[in-house]
């Protein structure tokens, strides 16, 4: 199956935040953050992703050579082609579908939080439901798995008024994004670029950016955490072998010893 992707044209985003609302509505996320607005010196709200906010528009006040400008970034899970969160998830609550979507089944999650610590973008948010028992669940954008799994558009794409969001075959989205970047460069945005084509196995969330990724706070070269592989692909099998070998060794030692030591000789 070919991969799907979301193309986000940040040069068309007006920061209306309709995507934030549509996301909460479809995914049954609470809106309580809006009643507790805090002034962080910016128009952005809420101040960060949270268990209740799977996508949000990040505001960057950019002071470039042409003067002050807003840079908007629609944050959320980037659906890596090589997702470390799936690799380290001990419950298979996080899965990579054959079309590349990294989906999440809340019922399977036990709240260990490894995904949040191995994500190269720090996206998964741990929802602690009981601080005393540590009861928690992970949460993140699933590309509206129940919609996209049934041929519908993700809620944010469906709602985006300026048409900044597009959804479909990943190769088509890349071609579309590259064409847009060329058009932007022709218009004088010399730093325009397409983000996500090759990073971490190719991202499922592609950004058309007017400035360099760093200006948006995006890592230019996000790294898949090598320790995820060292842990899951090396330490885990070796540990299993060590445990199995110890059990077998102890059983073998028992029979060898029983053959060689007569109980009568032991006081």
């Amino acid at each position: 199956m070919t991969r799907v992707a979301m193309l986000i044209d940040e040069t068309k985003c007006t920061a209306c935040r309709g995507c934030q609302v549509a996301c909460k509505q479809w995914n049954d996320r609470e809106g309580w953050e809006y009643s507790k607005t805090v002034n962080t010196g910016s128009y952005e709200n809420p101040p960060s992703l949270s268990p209740q906010t799977w996508t949000r528009i990040k505001f960057t006040e950019y002071d470039g050579p042409d003067g002050f400008r807003w840079l908007f970034l629609k944050e959320g899970c980037l659906h890596c082609g090589n997702p470390a969160c799936v690799k380290v998830c001990p419950t298979a609550a996080l899965k990579q579908q054959s079309d590349g979507r990294v989906t999440f089944e809340r019922d399977l999650c036990n709240g260990c939080g490894y995904c949040s610590q191995f994500c190269p973008f720090s996206i998964p948010q741990l929802e602690v439901t009981n601080p005393y028992t540590g009861e928690a669940r992970s949460s993140k954008c699933t590309f509206c798995q129940d919609r996209t799994g049934n041929g519908l558009l993700p809620a944010c794409v469906k709602t985006c008024p300026p048409g900044a969001l597009a959804w479909g075959d990943r190769d088509e989205m890349i071609a579309k994004g590259k064409a847009r970047v060329e058009a932007l460069q022709a218009m004088g945005f010399s730093n325009a670029n397409l983000y996500g084509e090759a990073q971490v196995g190719g991202l499922g969330r592609l950004y058309v950016l007017a400035e360099k990724p760093a200006a948006y706070g995006l890592p230019a070269d996000p790294k898949y955490p090598a320790l995820a592989d060292v842990w899951q692909s090396i330490a885990q099998p070796l540990g299993g072998i060590a445990l199995g070998a110890t059990v077998l060794g102890v059983i073998a030692a028992f029979f060898i010893t029983r053959r060689n030591i007569r109980m009568e000789e032991v006081e």
């Binding site: 709240g111 540590g134 955490p225 320790l227 842990w231 885990q236 059990v247 028992f254 006081e267």
Partner: protein
């Protein structure tokens, strides 16, 4: 000793018991056991892919809770031992120190414990080399598991993710080392015929004098006499081998 039983003469084994562990030490040992086993089981459920169904959802929440409750007791136990019986604690630590007789024990252990050949064994203190190795692994992993475990418990989100990833990896490696050592310890304690007195002394606090004389000569006789007996035993073995 020979006694008359129902008209026939029969050999009866008489055992003279000498104290080895205090009540606090035995209690501590069993708290250690009853917290280590649930910790290992709940930890392995998260670790072994084939146990994944047990790690999912509500069951997973429960095993994570059990793991942390057991971890608190597991972590506190050695500290309580130190607080309640500091002199015994320090004495035990001293007796767990390695010395040159441990090399001889390692060289002889295979034929002695596995093949049952009663070769001359360098005199051992209150703990033999095997017990010392078990103690070393348990002490090191107690520290490592405690530090990495607390970091994972309270440092999630506040400590750098890269450091957290190391904590997870180190925690798992230490767990494997501890569980492997535990399996060997369990076998020697409950199933090895020569080690029959180990479980008795951990249950009742006493050990057989004859057992102590053979397995812990330096503790039973004192270093000087134990050394003398060892040299004699060595000569005897050598002369037997010569024939």
């Amino acid at each position: 000793m020979t006694v008359k039983l129902k008209g026939t003469e029969r050999d009866v084994v008489t055992i003279r018991w000498i104290p080895k562990y205090t009540t606090i030490e035995r209690l501590g040992h069993w708290i250690h056991t009853t917290t280590f086993v649930p910790l290992a089981i709940t930890g392995l459920i998260l670790y072994m892919p084939f146990l994944q169904p047990l790690a999912q959802g509500e069951a997973g929440l429960l095993i994570r809770l059990v793991h942390r409750v057991a971890a608190v007791l597991f972590g506190l136990m050695p500290i309580l031992y130190f607080v309640v019986q500091p002199r015994r604690f320090i004495m035990s630590i001293r007796e767990f120190m390695f010395d040159k007789d441990d090399i001889g024990w390692v060289q002889n252990a295979f034929s002695y414990y596995l093949l049952g050949r009663h070769t001359a064994m360098p005199p051992q203190g209150r703990f033999n080399t095997g017990e010392k190795m078990n103690g070393l692994i348990m002490c090191v992993t107690w520290v490592v598991l405690g530090v990495t475990g607390l970091a994972m418990w309270f440092g999630k989100g506040t400590m750098p993710a890269g450091l957290f990833q190391w904590m997870v990896l180190i925690h798992d490696v230490a767990m494997i080392a501890a569980v492997c050592m535990f399996l060997v310890h369990l076998y020697l304690a409950v199933a090895h015929p020569l080690m029959w007195a180990g479980l008795v002394s951990m249950r009742f606090g006493v050990t057989s004098a004859a057992y102590a004389a053979e397995h812990h000569a330096r503790w039973y006789y004192g270093p000087k006499r134990a050394r003398q007996l060892y040299e004699e035993a060595k000569k005897k073995v050598a002369s037997e081998a010569g024939h």
